[in-house]
């Protein structure tokens, strides 16, 4: 099957893909499978008991990329999907997921993706996820991603998640359990405008000896939008946990940061930093003194902040 221009554009925005890739690939379009490609090391299978896919990555797989974009282009569609990733011992892969909603209609379109990552010993994953909404309609665009991560000894998962634009409402839930010497790194970027709302909820159980977690959220809230950031880190062993929530607030927006740290082990070292504030006046002044207008200066500062 061929994708139309609007669908291709969404694919470019969320997955940076100009064409269907050669590697492992699964495209979900309007609630069903549209395209799939397996490789020697990576197998994608449709789940039998519920909507979604299982992705198996063989032990030792190196330098491969898996793309599993989702496109919702119909108004009134509510799409729920379960994707499970099984990453074999010592594998090292890039996984790119993303969801683009194009809603020209008046009914709400929603995609709820539940992604579970099971990392075997010493597996390494870089997971990139982008969310984006567009369309002229009055129908809401809703994205509720859930990410569950289970990292075995020595494993490493780095997650980059971004909600770029146009999503009216989102509830983003991330749960992680870390084994011995496992590492979890999360960088989240969110921008909300209009009347949008975004809720982020991270919880990490640091169970393994010498495991580490580094969760950083950067966000910009404009207009009348609202954001709520919750994080919970449980240090149950000797470990290093760090969360950071850094938000720029503009116009009449509202941001709440609600971090919690629990240490259940004397050698658990946990830190949380949170900062919410408007753009620093001196930053605007510096850029204006380079000849930028106030609005251009603001854009540069926000773009840099969310880069």
């Amino acid at each position: 099957m061929a994708l139309d221009k609007m669908q291709m554009n969404l694919l470019k925005t969320i997955a940076d893909l100009e064409k269907v890739p050669d590697g492992a690939f699964n495209l979900r379009l309007d609630g069903g499978l549209a395209m799939r490609n397996n490789t020697e090391n990576i197998t994608i299978e449709t789940k039998q008991d519920k909507p979604g896919i299982d992705i198996y990555i063989k032990a030792g797989t190196k330098n491969e990329r898996v793309d599993i974009p989702v496109i919702v282009s119909k108004t009134g569609l509510k799409d729920l999907v379960y994707n499970d990733f099984y990453i074999g011992e010592g594998a090292d892969v890039l996984i790119v997921a993303g969801c683009g909603i194009h809603n020209d209609g008046s009914e709400k379109s929603e995609h709820d993706g539940i992604h579970a990552f099971h990392l075997a010993k010493n597996a390494r994953v870089k997971y990139v996820e982008k969310h984006y909404g567009e369309g002229e309609g009055t129908g809401e665009r809703i994205l509720n991603p859930t990410t569950e991560v289970d990292i075995a000894e020595g494993g490493y998962l780095e997650m980059e998640t971004a909600q770029i634009k146009g999503v009216d409402s989102t509830k983003r839930v991330t749960r992680a359990v870390l084994g011995d010497k496992a590492t979890l790194i999360i960088h989240e970027k969110i921008m909300t405008h209009g009347k949008q709302s975004a809720e982020t909820d991270f919880a990490v159980d640091m169970n393994g000896f010498d495991c580490g977690a580094h969760v950083v959220s950067r966000s910009v809230a404009k207009d009348n939008s609202h954001q709520h950031f919750t994080s919970l880190i449980n240090g149950n062993n000797q470990c290093n946990g760090h969360t950071e929530c850094d938000a720029i607030i503009m116009d009449n927006a509202g941001v709440t940061a609600d971090p919690k740290l629990t240490a259940n082990h004397v050698d658990a070292s946990l830190i949380h930093e949170a900062a919410i504030g408007k753009i620093a006046g001196e930053q605007l002044i510096k850029l204006m003194s380079l000849g930028l207008s106030e609005k251009e200066a603001e854009e540069q500062i926000i773009n840099g902040f969310l880069k």
């Binding site: 950067r218 850094d246 620093a280 001196e282 930053q283 002044i285 510096k286 850029l287 204006m288 003194s289 380079l290 000849g291 930028l292 207008s293 106030e294 540069q300 500062i301 773009n303 840099g304 902040f305 969310l306 880069k307």
Partner: protein, 246 residues
């Protein structure tokens, strides 16, 4: 090129109005002018008034015959005024190369960005992609601020203590930066400085204390006076008075 007519800047303080800049009259046409004077004298405030960061509470500022008193920072920048801050600003996510490119107001390729960085003694490769954030040292930040002023290359550039925090080795480079700048812009450079070596090479030295011009003239005339007394004694008298009071 630049003229200040009776410029004052008042702020509200605990004990009523405070005159930070007090009826300053000044006309600058020289290529290389140094402004000096005791800490808290009003030098940075004067620079901010020139850039439009502060609006004078009285008086007028004229640039190339145009009254810019009510012009915004952006307008002044576009008319050809640049101000390198005493305390450069840090940004999250904006890189050195982003700032230099914005400063130059045109697309630059990496090697052009690198040239500016090399001019200020930074090994370009290590810096182009660095974020201008907390991770940069004070001296590095000052050099990037100078590189930005070079990249702008406007008719008037005001440097606020550019040498502060920069190590000795780079002093020579700094001077060569100024030389290059006025070869290129054919304009004027105003340097706020406490450094004798910088004052030595200025065409003219203006001394500002307590918001007023207390001395102004050719370097040969002002410098000897300045070195004998000025800044040092001011601070001492203040301290001495304090001790006497106790």
């Amino acid at each position: 090129m630049l003229e200040l007519q009776n410029v004052s800047f008042q702020v509200d303080s605990e004990n009523g109005q405070k005159e930070i800049i007090d009826s300053v009259n000044l006309r600058i046409d020289e290529r290389f002018v140094a402004i000096t004077g005791p800490n808290g004298g009003g030098k940075s405030t004067l620079a901010k008034l020139i850039m439009g960061i502060y609006k004078p509470t009285a008086g007028k500022i004229i640039f190339n015959g145009v009254d810019i008193t009510d012009k915004s920072i952006t307008e002044r920048a576009q008319m050809g005024i640049t101000f390198a801050f005493q305390q450069p600003v840090r940004f999250k996510g904006i890189t050195v190369s982003d700032l230099i490119t914005l400063a130059s107001a045109k697309e630059l390729n990496t090697s052009q960005v690198c040239n500016y960085l090399s001019e200020v003694g930074l090994c370009a490769r290590d810096y182009v992609d660095r974020e201008v954030n907390e991770s940069l040292s004070g001296g590095e930040l000052k050099r990037i601020e100078i590189a930005m002023a070079m990249a702008r290359g406007t008719e008037l550039t005001v440097f606020d203590e550019p040498e502060a925090g920069i190590d000795l080795w780079s002093f020579k480079n700094l001077i060569s930066v100024f030389r290059k700048m006025y070869d290129k812009t054919n304009g004027s450079i105003i340097i706020i400085s406490h450094q004798e070596r910088i004052l030595n090479i200025a065409d003219r030295i203006i001394v500002i204390a307590d918001g007023k011009i207390t001395n102004d003239g050719k370097g040969e005339a002002v410098l000897p006076e300045l070195l004998g007394t000025q800044s040092a004694t001011d601070a001492c008298t203040v301290l001495k008075n304090k001790v006497d009071m106790e």
